[in-house]
Structures are given as C-alpha cells and as structure tokens.
Amino acid sequence: MDVPAPVLRMSGIGKQFPGVRALDGVDLRLLPGEVHALMGENGAGKSTLIKVLTGVHPADSGTIELAGRTVSFAGPLEAQQAGISTVYQEVNLCANLSVAENIFIGREPRRRGRIDWKRMRARAAELLERLELDVDVSAPLSSYSLALQQMVAIARAIDVEARVLILDEPTSSLDAGEVRQLFRVMRRLKEEGIAILFVSHFLDQIYEISDRMTILRNGRLVGEYLTRELSQVALVAKMIGQELAELERLHGEARTFDRPLVEARELGRTGAVEPFSLTIHEGEVVGLAGLLGSGRTEIARLLFGADHATSGEVAVGGAPAALRTPRAAMARRIAFCSENRKRDGLIPDLTVRENIVLALQATRGWTRPVPRDQQDELVGRYVKALKISPANPDHLVRDLSGGNQQKVLLARWLILEPRLLILDEPTRGIDVGAKAEIQRLVAELSDGGMAVLFISAELEEVLRLSHRVGVLRDRRLVADLPNDDTLTTDTLMETIASGGRA
C-alpha cells in the first residue's frame, strides 16, 4: 500500500517538566488527506505533544519536519503562519471580545488598512451558519456557554487556510448534533488534502472519523496503527495497558423513590430558563438531556444558588429554602460541579490537595482548618480512586493535564458527601478508564442515598446512570421521562427534536 509523504513528521520528541517527564522519544507523522487520532489516557502527553509542535513549549529533544524541512516554531504565531491551525484543549479565546472578533482576530478583513467591522461580522455569521449555529456574533463571547465557545474556537481554526489542522478534544462538551457538523467539516477539509490531528476520549467518534492513530502511554509512544485494523478493545488495552471490563447500564433494577429531597416549583430566571418544576428524590439520579444552549446548565445553577431565580421557589427536604448564594445551597448540603473548570472551578495557582479540600474548608470556615491527616486521607483516597496523575497532591493544578484537572474538580465535590450532587458535564475530557470509574462512583453514592442531578452531552452516559431523564429544549423543561427499557438514545433524540409533544 502506498503511503503519501507526510506533511508533518515529529521524531524523538522529549519534554521534561519539573518533576514530570511528559514526553519521551515520541514520533508522530501526519499524512495529507487523513484524520489522525492521537490517543492516550489523561496525562499521557497528547496536549504536550501538540504544544511542543506549535512552539508553546520548546522541545528538549527531537526534530520536527514540515513538508520535508526542519522547523522550530518560537510560538503559535509562527506555527500558524507556517500553515498549522490549532484548537487547543481548553477553550483559549478572549471572553471579553465579541464572537466575530474571536474568530477573526489577527486576520481581520481590512479595507485601506482599517478593520472592516461590517464585513467581519457578516463573514463570522456566515461561517457559524455553516456549522448550523445561529448566534449574535457581536455579543461578547463570555455571554455564551462553554459548548458554544468550543464551536467558535473550531470555527476560528477551520477558517484558516492551513495544511495541518489540530483539534485537541474539540468535542468534549459538544452534543451529537454539533459533533456531526464538525465531522462534516472535517471530511470536507480532508478531501482538500489537509492533514488533521484529532484528540478525543470518545472512542465512537474516533472510529467514525479517523483513518490512523498514534497511541501514547505515560509520555511514551506505543505505536501507530490504522484505525480499521485495531479493535476498540485492543485500543483501550494499548492505552491503559490492561483490559477494560465492558460497560453496562449501572442501575439495573427499577426502584421507587418516595422521599423528595429537592422540589423546584415554577423556578425560572428571565432570559435564561423558563419556569420549571422538578423533584429530585433521595437516592435518585436525574439526568438532563438537551441540545447545546438548551438551558441545562442554567437549571443546575439555579438549584445551587449560583444565579438568582426570578420566579418560583425551592424546597429542600420539605422546608422552603431561599437559595440565594452557593453557600446557602451548601448549607443544605447541595453541591455543584460546574462544567467550565477553568472559569468556574479550579484555582490554578493552588495545589491538587488545596483544590480538593477547598469546598470542605469553605463549609468549615477559616478558623477550623481541615486537619492534615484528614486531608491526606481524603486526597489520597480520591487521587487513587480517580487515578489522578501525577499522584502528587502538592502539584499545582495549573500544571495538570485537562482530564486530571477535571478529576480534581470532581473530587472536590465528592468528598463533601452532599445530599444532592449536581454534576454538569463531570466527565468532560476524561479518558475511558476513569470515566467508568466515575460512573461507578456516582452509582454507588446514589445507592447510598445521595441524589444526583447529572448533566452530560453524551446521551449514552445519561442513560446509563439515570433513573429519570428530564429533557430540555429552548430553555424549557419539556419532558420528564422514567428511564426504563423503552428509553434509548434514539427516543431521547426524538423527544428533544419534537419538544416533547410526540
């Protein structure tokens, strides 16, 4: 079989961070007209490899060849100029600028040297329309949800005329529809002969779109394979170094829930979510399904007191509760793990340990520090259970890989052992092994009596965990379905599409 000459070849790449060997002799080649998946567990070194390529981090060793010539980029700007367009893992856009600017900044359409705002907005709207998004491009990016921001980042990257496109977990908070749009675009680009590097922890997506894959483990190269020649099981085995048990629906038998924990009556917030009523019982896992921007996050924030409701009321354990601040909610033992770990979750300058015990510490107040041995015990337990790596509690969270940061955030809320745990996209960017572990943990906790509100863009996951699924559409709770055998992702999709009238 003939293989065309690679556009990009990295060989023998090594990168050492203080205390962590992130990459060690890694090779990677990208062929034109192919989607190449970069696979590996959380912390395997995928993002680091990408950052070394685009010059964010200088490599310690190894060479990079672009179109047969040795290159070394001093920064993303140079990489971009050389035709490498990148979407980095965390959404790296400027929230203070408008959507249109975020797409075009650095290459704005100009007329006689001055930025042509009108044309820029028009082109941005056009570009987003091609991704089937209808947004006000002159509004600041900060007014949009994380998923939309991810789409904007993608729009920015694919509009560049590039020979190499790099997408580092672009789909982590996208739902099926958006993923389909993205794949459509990727196929088109592929046909144009562009080499695409794609990172994702969703194996289905990998098998759907990629032609070839490179697998990393602990910063070392495992090998390069053709996707169609490697089974999912084999892939996982190569990634984590062992076999993974099959995933099953975690809540086998149907249970009845009769002790309401949190009851929301006509709770709503103007401009965010229409008044809705929802009851969550003790021990129950309620999933929320809906499209991008359908208001799932808004519901979660209202139930946690992160935003003020403009109508309706909440009762917790039968007593009316004014959830005006997160503290008030936490006092009633409600916890909320937010979807945007960078903006609403982690304190990047603090260590893993400090981030994990932060919420617990907050409930105790500053005069009663969490005793050191209790800290060690809690942190140690969750570092192990969630496989946080590096397993050093005194590592700065800022320096962790994306998935591991997510685990830290999750651990923060799990140790609180709340009565209601609201999880908004808790498995965003988490690898298959850890994901199963987290799902098992959630199921275990709910069996122990904890109520969970579970939000995820991945419908399978929602179905696997929930006892009941609320469906949102256009910021309205349109259906509340029990999760029995008749409920499948297809019926869910239908409900979403029809707005619950079917």
């Binding site: 200088p58 490599a59 310690d60 060793s61 190894g62 060479t63 672009l66 179109a67 010539r69 040795t70 290159v71 070394s72 140079e78 971009q80 100029q81 050389a82 035709g83 560049v160 005329e161 590039a162 020979r163 946690f304 992160a306 601040t325 997160p326 503290r327 936490m330 909320f336 937010s338 903006r343 609403d344 979750g345 982690l346 304190i347 990047p348 300058d349 603090l350 400090e354 932060l358 919420a359 510490q361 907050a362 409930t363 105790r364 107040g365 500053w366 005069t367 009663r368 520090p369 969490v370 923060r412």
Partner: protein, 337 residues
C-alpha cells in the same frame, strides 16, 4: 523556599557593599543596655515598612491593592498623639487610634467587596481624604508628645531588643498563624486566584476581602504608632508619605504577584528588608541626594532581573554549553498559508 533564594542573595550583596564602605557595619554592641548597630537600625527603621507590607501582602493576594495605607499611618499617629497630648492616657489613645484604623479598613473593604469598586480607586479615595483627615486631626501642625510609655512602641527597648522589632515579630507570627496554621491563607489565595470559582466553592469571599483590608489598615495603624512614637510626634502631613509604594514594591520583590493568588509572607519581609537596607546603604555610603534615585533604580532593576528565571536563562546559561536541540533560525521555513 527556593523562591526566596534570589531575594536573599540580593540582600546579602547589599550588606556586603556596606561592609566594604563601613567596616564596622556588622558590629552590634551594647550601649546603655540596648543593642546598637547598623543592622539593628535596619530592622528598627524597617519595622513600620514590614508591618505595612504584611497587610499589603494579604490585600494583594486577594487580587486587590491598598493605596490608603500611607494615610492610615498618618491618621493613626495623629490621633494617638492628639489623645496623649490632651489627657495622657497612652493605652486608651492606642486603642482609639487602632480602632479608627480598623474602621477605615472596613470602609475600604466595604467599597471593594460590598459596592464592587475597583480596589485601586476605592482606596485612592481614602488615600486622598485620609491625608486630609490626618491634617485635620493635627491641625496641620506637628503634635509633639512627651510620654515615655508611648515612646516605647517605636523607640523603646525590651530585654535589650528594640520594641518595634519584637512587635513586628509578634505581628508576623500572628499573621503566619492565621494564614498558614488556620485556613485563612488558602481561602485568601483562592479568592485572589479565581474569584468566581471561589464563590461557587462556597467561600465567603466578601467577608474575607473585608477582613483583609481591615487587617491591612490595622497593620498600617500599628506602623503609624511606631513612626509617631519613634520621633515622639505626629506629622499628619508627611508621616507615611509614599509608604504604599514601598510596601507594594516589597510585596512584589517578595515574589507575590500583583494579579493575586499565591503569597509569601517571608518573601515580603525580605523585600521590605531589601528596601530598608538599600535606604540605609545610600545614607551611609554617602550617595548624593541627586543620584539616590538612580541607585534605587539600578538596584530595583537588578533585583527583578535576577529574580526572573527567563533572564537567568538568557544571561547565565548563554555562556555555558547548551545542548541546542533547536535548529538555527535561518533553517526556519515560512510556508505561506
């Protein structure tokens, strides 16, 4: 601790310069039952700055800044001296002055955390008005007091050691205890590192911010008492003038970022000592006043350069053999997109 290495080296270098010009610089002797010497002087005159910087450190760690400390220094000294000159009760005067300072700090904190005004402007208000207040208290004159017990705070000795130094040690100890032993430090760093995330983690950031401003004002108040007591007089016009700048500088030299987040009390103390040593050095080496600022500029530049890992990389390692994995610049390809 490795972070403090470079400031320590700078401090050592400054002291070495002194030793070169004044061979007796390191000598500490007993005079009339107290310790006496240049090193003691540095600690003694640096004490107010260290105090103000400690308060400033916490404020900066929350992502704020406090410009009003200089005015608070003046107010505290002025009020205490006024009270003492009126009826002589030192203790009540001190309590009153510090009480007012805490109130002023709460006011700052309220503007920042309650009303949501940007810290620099919120505290600018008190910086300007507070100086006026201090002058109002002293009527623009210098209030001289003659109270031996008041004199102790800034100019006295306890067990041969200057009382001011002991006071600093106590405040430092208390601050370290509150922030590092108790959980205040982590919460402050968390608020400064990511305010929204802290709110969602259930931290009462408003209360913490207000507390921190009150603490900074209290520290400034104690410093004000020290300065006033040291010269037995309150000068509403000049006491604490520009001390906010020195304090911020001390904090920054100590490695705390003005953007908030992680802070280092030890670094701040070192920073303040560097500044004070520099001042003393300038006096004792005999730098003419016209060039004082040039020397200061050089030292500050040197301190910040030597602390910068990037600078050390570029300058110190360039000479050494560096395994260059990067191809030379001319090999770079520019591919037109």
């Amino acid at each position: 601790m490795r972070r403090l290495l470079w400031p320590l080296l700078v401090l050592a270098a400054l002291l070495a310069v002194n030793l070169f010009f004044t061979p007796s610089f390191f000598s500490v002797e007993m005079k009339e039952g107290h310790l006496y010497g240049s090193l003691i002087d540095i600690l003694r005159f640096g004490a107010p700055l260290i105090l103000v910087s400690l308060g400033m450190t916490l404020v900066i760690a929350t992502g704020g800044i406090d410009l009003s400390v200089g005015s608070v220094v003046a107010i505290s000294g002025a009020l205490a001296c006024l009270r003492i000159s009126e009826d002589g009760g030192v203790l009540s005067a001190v309590v009153l002055a510090l009480g007012l300072c805490v109130l002023l700090g709460l006011w700052n904190g309220f503007l920042v955390a309650g009303v949501g005004i940007q810290p620099i402007i919120a505290t600018l208000i008190l910086m300007v008005a507070g100086r006026g207040l201090a002058q109002l208290i002293t009527d623009g004159q210098i209030i001289t007091v003659n109270s031996p017990s008041f004199k102790v705070i800034g100019g006295g000795y306890l067990l041969t050691v200057p009382f001011g130094i002991l006071l600093v040690l106590v405040v430092l100890g208390v601050t370290a205890f509150l922030t590092r032993r108790l959980a205040l430090g982590v919460l402050i760093e968390s608020v400064g590192g990511n305010a929204e995330a802290s709110r969602l983690a259930g931290i009462r950031s408003r209360g913490i911010v207000i507390t921190v401003y009150a603490f900074a004002a209290l520290c400034a108040g104690v410093a004000g008492l020290m300065i006033a007591s040291n010269v037995s007089s309150a000068d509403g016009n000049n006491a604490g003038l520009w001390i906010e700048l020195d304090a911020i500088l001390a904090v920054v030299i100590g490695g705390t970022s003005l953007a908030g987040g992680r802070f280092s009390l030890g670094g701040t103390v070192l920073g303040a000592l560097i500044i004070q040593t520099l001042t003393t050095t300038i006096y004792s080496v005999g730098v003419p006043p016209e060039t004082t600022l040039l020397v200061k500029a050089l030292v500050v530049a040197a301190v910040c350069l030597v602390q910068s890992p990037k600078f050390r990389d570029k300058v110190f390692r360039r000479a050494g053999p560096r395994a260059s994995s990067r191809p030379a610049a001319e090999e770079k390809v520019r591919v037109t997109a």
